[in-house]
């Protein structure tokens, strides 16, 4: 079965370095003494802890619940005791700490009761809620909560389901090994996805540098009761990017600013499909994943690793070598440098790449941009990276956005080919995060303006209401007064003066009356006493405040 394939523009062919790790079998990493499990391993709201320090938990038990729709639960990767819920180092470039739950494992590795889900009998919404509570998130790198992606929505249908086995990043082989050894499980997961999304066409894109994985998947696909097409695609970085995979397999482009579901396509990583199968058919939440440990280590290979295992453990297992210059999470094109080796493996950790000066020589000094447009030729998003660079560098973020900064997928092709060795992607990340920060700031200042304006309005309204009440009182007194002299008939100047004074007093009285709540008239002596007590306390506060209070502050 051959399929007409398409190509995407741009892209590069960096050295693959796959054979270092994909020739070894998968080993399970041993159970570490401590597991540090971050609560924000996915995109969306961090999970909320549902255990306390000192609690005993079992393997697979939910320790933090999903918070909201776009979120995913977090589970204990093994049995043991919760020793801390605090800020710990997490695998993030900043080196900042984030909320984590620390487990001291008891070595028994005792599972909770696992119940497979009868997904065909369940309502789709309920099934998705279950998957969210089992912590499923995309294992390709973006860790978007899978339950959300498995919701085709009311209007959208996803006739095409693409399973991404591209794995275009150099060095990484975890998806390759997963497909070789767990092809049937992956396709079981695909069956669940197909059920939820109502897809009719299922394509599995695998780069043609993984012939064993292709063969294994094809053999497994032949045994499925629905049609799955295993499509070898040319190895061409970033062919494993979701948008590029869609273009290669279908010839369609995801419209700028839209989602692939808008054109009826949903894409999942093979690892996600596998995790989904484990969840549905075995009742196992997402507590472990395959991690490639490679680069400057003695025995590069893939491990089955419990989430929360320190990266240092894996590097020791693979054989640490002298001359290590750093560790990346992910591959050399898009990977993130780790602030320390003590950070835990998380759901997004597909690879721990150990650097050395020989494998990754320090980048040569950057030279000025000579506008050679090699970056534009290499850009798979078909942007003009040299212009984006110029705008980002100058802080002209508006223009950068006009030139489609947010269509950049940060694949690194532009930086890779740049003869001036400019860290272009750095500039785009900087510009993007600056724009987001500004939008946040703008929202904050809009809120402040709104609240300030409302406050002004409120003060104004209170003033007005006060004035109106005063006027009403004065009016009442005046009518009373003007009624009295009429009885006396004789009006002299002295009387007039008296009347004025009386009116002023009446006004003062009115003001007082205004200041005092009206329900203080005709009250019982006890209540009166209480009122007096309160008044005395109030006077004390006034004294403290050295400034009389406005009436509105009264209780």
């Amino acid at each position: 079965m051959s399929r007409t394939l398409f190509t995407f523009k741009g892209g590069v062919h960096p050295p693959e370095h796959k054979t270092e790790s994909n020739t070894q079998p998968i080993h399970s990493a041993p159970l570490p003494r401590h597991l540090v499990i971050p609560l924000s391993q996915h995109i969306g709201n961090p999970a909320k802890p549902v255990v306390n320090v000192g609690d005993l938990v079992r393997k697979g038990q939910m320790i933090a619940a999903a918070d909201g729709y776009i979120s995913a639960a977090v589970h204990a990767s093994s049995s043991g005791t919760v020793t801390a819920i605090d800020m710990q180092a997490v695998p993030h470039i900043s080196g900042l700490h984030d909320l984590c739950i620390t487990l001291e494992t008891d070595g028994r590795d005792e599972w909770i009761e696992r119940t497979p889900l009868d997904y065909l009998a369940m309502a789709p919404t309920e099934l998705r809620m279950q998957l969210r509570d089992m912590g499923l998130a995309g294992l390709g790198g973006a860790v978007f909560p899978s339950a959300v992606k498995l919701d085709p929505g009311a209007a959208h249908l996803c006739p095409t389901l693409i399973i991404n086995g591209g794995e275009c990043e150099p060095w990484i082989t975890c998806d390759d090994l997963l497909m070789r050894h767990h092809a049937a499980d992956i396709l079981q997961g695909v069956a669940v996805m197909r059920h939820l999304l109502g897809s009719t066409e299922i394509l599995v894109g695998i780069e043609d540098n993984k012939p064993e994985a292709i063969a294994a998947m094809q053999a497994a696909a032949a045994r499925m009761d629905f049609a799955v097409e295993i499509v070898p695609v040319p190895a061409h970085y970033p062919g494993g990017g979701a948008k590029q995979m869609i273009q290669v397999l279908t010839g369609k482009e995801v419209p700028s600013g839209k989602l692939s579901t808008d054109i009826g396509i949903q894409v999942f990583n093979v690892g996600t499909a596998h995790a989904l199968a484990r969840a549905v058919h075995h009742g196992e939440p997402l507590i472990s994943r395959l991690v490639t440990v490679t680069g400057h280590v003695q025995r590069p290979q893939n491990f089955e690793v419990l989430i929360g295992t320190p990266m240092r453990t894996l590097i020791t297992l693979a054989g640490e070598r002298d001359g290590t210059t750093g560790v990346l999470m992910g591959g050399p094109m898009m990977g993130v440098p780790m602030p320390s080796l003590d950070v835990p493996v998380v759901k997004a950790t597909n690879c721990v790449l150990v650097k050395s000066a020989e494998l990754f020589p320090p980048l040569p000094r950057a030279m000025p941009c000579i506008r050679c447009t090699r970056c534009a030729d290499a850009c798979p998003a078909e942007l003009q990276p040299q212009e984006l660079f110029r705008f980002a560098k100058a802080g002209d973020f508006g223009r950068a956005q006009e030139y489609h900064l947010f269509d950049c997928i940060e694949c690194g092709c532009c930086s890779y080919v740049c003869p001036s060795h400019i860290p272009l992607v750095d500039y785009y990340r900087y510009a993007k995060s600056e724009i987001w920060a500004r939008e946040k700031e703008k929202r904050a200042s809009d809120l402040a303006r709104e609240r300030h304006e409302f406050r002004q309005f409120r003060i104004e309204r209170e003033k007005k209401e006060k004035a109106e009440k005063l006027a009403a009182k004065a009016q009442a007194k005046r009518t009373e007064l003007s009624a009295a002299p009429a009885e006396n008939a004789a009006t002299s100047e002295a009387d007039a003066k008296k009347a004025l004074i009386a009116a002023a007093m009446a006004r003062a009285q009115a003001r007082k009356a205004e200041a005092a709540p009206k329900n203080t008239d005709n009250v019982s002596p006890e209540t009166q006493r209480e009122i007096e007590e309160i008044e005395a306390r109030r006077a004390k506060i006034r004294e403290l405040a050295r400034k009389p209070l406005e009436p509105k502050e009264k209780n």
Binding site: E253, P255, G330, F360, R371, A381, D407, P419, H421
Partner: protein
């Protein structure tokens, strides 16, 4: 330092080095046809350019080593030297090179920042200021009685002392200049073309030089150092404009092949208009840039005050690059159009 952590093996130095290599066939042909005088010119321009570059880098607080090693100053020097008459006096070479490096390159912000092609600015300044010296070309060897040796050329360049007897024999106008003068004398193109300087296409010797530059240009294209758009559009612009005029009045306007095979055109099309720093960056923009430069070249050659228009045409197009780039932003993946044309953006 975040990702990516690996780089392709390319560098500015490598790009510039290939440009120099691609110029070598042209230089060799030059020596073969016009004698070794050009080597003196090249050496003098190179030394001047490197000294000026080093001084400007120091003055601007940049480290000299990596920026001298990028070879861009040498490329500028060679392009200027190859545009000058082969026996131009030393002060002409030095003035042009200094102007190119100091004013056109560094005062505009150095490598990558200059708006105008430095070599062409240097050339334009010289031709405006010293028109006489700029048109004194040593004739092709096959037309001159006594070719000058390297030392003789050097003494001509540095001392200004032509061997008296051979002065007239050695220097002569370029074909373009000859055509222009002839036309001014109310001669027709055919009458002018009967003179010995005109060869089969562009002029004796000059057409071989043009072919050598073409060869070097094709090498750069094969190495993907230059794109096809600019040279092709440039040549097409020349051919179309010259052909159009020639078609209407063959007596007053030179044939398109004659215009194409002037060496300045091939040098301009493959080495100067393709300068990435001062050229358009978008694919359509490159076509417009090249076409515009080609058309302007013929317009200036035909109606302008100077015999050749390549330098001015390229400088004028350099000026319009920001506009061309802004107008020709390509469609991106996912179909969003350029903001200028997209009301929703």
């Amino acid at each position: 330092m975040p990702a990516p952590f690996i780089l392709d093996r390319s560098s500015v130095t490598q790009v510039m080095a290939w440009v120099l290599v691609a110029l070598l066939p042209g230089v060799a042909t030059y020596v073969w046809l016009f004698g070794p005088g050009i080597l003196v010119t090249l050496a003098l321009a190179t030394v001047t350019a490197l000294a000026a570059e080093a001084a400007m880098l120091k003055a601007r607080g940049y480290p000299a080593k990596p920026f001298l090693a990028d070879l861009s100053a040498i490329v500028t020097a060679w392009l200027l030297a190859l545009s000058l008459p082969s026996l131009a006096p030393w002060w002409l070479i030095v003035t042009g090179t200094l102007f190119a490096i100091v004013v056109a390159k560094h005062l505009y912000g150095g490598l990558g920042q200059n708006i105008f092609n430095p070599a062409m600015v240097g050339y334009a300044v010289l031709i405006v200021s010293f028109p006489v010296q700029m048109t004194q070309w040593a004739g092709p060897l096959e037309l001159t009685a006594t070719p000058l040796s390297l030392t003789q050329s050097a003494s001509v360049i540095f001392g200004g002392d032509f061997p008296k007897a051979t002065l007239d024999a050695v220097t002569m106008a370029t074909p373009l200049d000859a055509l222009r003068t002839g036309l001014l004398q109310q001669l027709t193109v055919d009458e002018v073309m009967t003179r010995s300087i005109f060869g089969h296409y562009g002029g004796v010797g000059f057409e071989w030089l043009a072919a050598a530059f073409l060869l070097g240009g094709l090498l750069l294209w094969a190495l993907r150092i230059i794109s096809w758009q600019v040279p092709l559009a440039f040549l097409a612009g020349i051919w179309l404009a010259a052909g159009f005029l020639h078609f209407f009045d063959a007596g007053r306007f030179g044939a398109p092949w004659f215009h194409l095979f002037a060496p300045s055109v091939m040098l301009g099309a493959f080495f100067i208009a393709t300068d990435p720093v001062t050229g358009a960056t978008t694919p359509r923009g490159k076509l417009i840039f090249g076409l515009g430069a080609g058309l302007l070249t013929i317009i200036i050659r035909t109606w302008g005050g100077f015999p050749d228009g390549v330098a001015f045409a390229i400088l004028l197009m350099n000026l319009s690059v920001p506009l061309i780039d802004a107008w020709t932003q390509p469609r991106i993946y996912g179909g969003a159009k350029h903001p200028d044309k997209d009301p929703s953006a």
